[in-house]
Symmetry: C2
């Protein structure tokens, strides 16, 4: 039924938005000086993880057919390479702004998708492969990024002082 | 379209299964002696988090109408109360088994659901409220538990020695 199809879209989209909101709430409360720390001894810093989730969400823009990435240079620092104190990273202040900008754009564009578009292919699968694997659609991209965000959200929260 | 409705179910169900699998893989590799450690200084232990995700998944059984919880006593230790070294917990060996049992049952039962059942209400919402809020369905429960599992999975992985 069409109703269920739309319900599923709403549920998935809300799940994504809720996870973005959870990170927003965290960022409002955490200080820059806590955010530079490692989430656990010898593991990624909050600084790196914040850059990482921005870079991954920024990649969603072309993947979902919404245009070009806003900050394509972040992928090198925060996806292709592991955390390294010797790598020059954008400041936390900059990253806080970029996090907001990239999600503002993503959420705005996602709001405009109709059902057929949600179930349409994402941009890194060919028409031919998509015909065989219709699961490789936009809904799936948003769902997998929701888990990704929750995963790193669970790590970032460890930096919060109670 | 019916096709899209079923695609959405498959996508959500696979997301859940993938996150369960990721925890299974982690548990295969992590030693009991690493699992008792705190995921970060002063934060929950792996022991507690493992019990927590079992208790939450165990609660899914009645919530999804699959029968009674297998380990209802775990909720007191791992949901209602925070981590406390003075609380007697089931051993890690026991928890490893319970994690497998609860997910084996859940996944088996989820496999049997038809589309209408996936979009049917979960057991803690009344028929009346469900009529007003059709999003409170089984699909939504599975989706929200997927994020929950990813969140704690991101924390547990910090215990893995590279």
């Amino acid at each position: 039924m069409d109703d269920n199809q739309n319900l599923a879209i709403q549920i998935v989209f809300e799940g994504f938005k809720n996870n973005v909101k959870a990170i927003n709430n965290f960022l409002e409360k955490v200080s820059d000086s806590d955010l530079v720390k490692q989430v656990s001894n010898g593991k990624n810093s909050g600084h790196y993880l914040l850059g990482h989730i921005i870079a991954v969400h920024d990649n969603m823009i072309p993947l979902l057919g919404f245009g070009e990435s806003l900050y394509p240079h972040l992928g090198d620092i925060f996806i292709k390479n592991p955390d390294n104190i010797h790598t020059e990273k954008p400041s936390i202040e900059q990253l806080r702004e970029q996090w907001n900008s990239v999600n503002l754009m993503l959420l705005e564009k996602l709001e405009t998708l109709n059902s057929a578009q949600w179930f349409g292919k994402h941009s890194s699968v060919s028409e031919e492969d998509f015909a065989k694997e219709p699961k490789r659609n936009k809904l799936n991209v948003v769902l997998s990024r929701t888990s990704h965000l929750a995963y790193h959200g669970g790590q970032l929260i460890l930096l919060k002082n109670n």
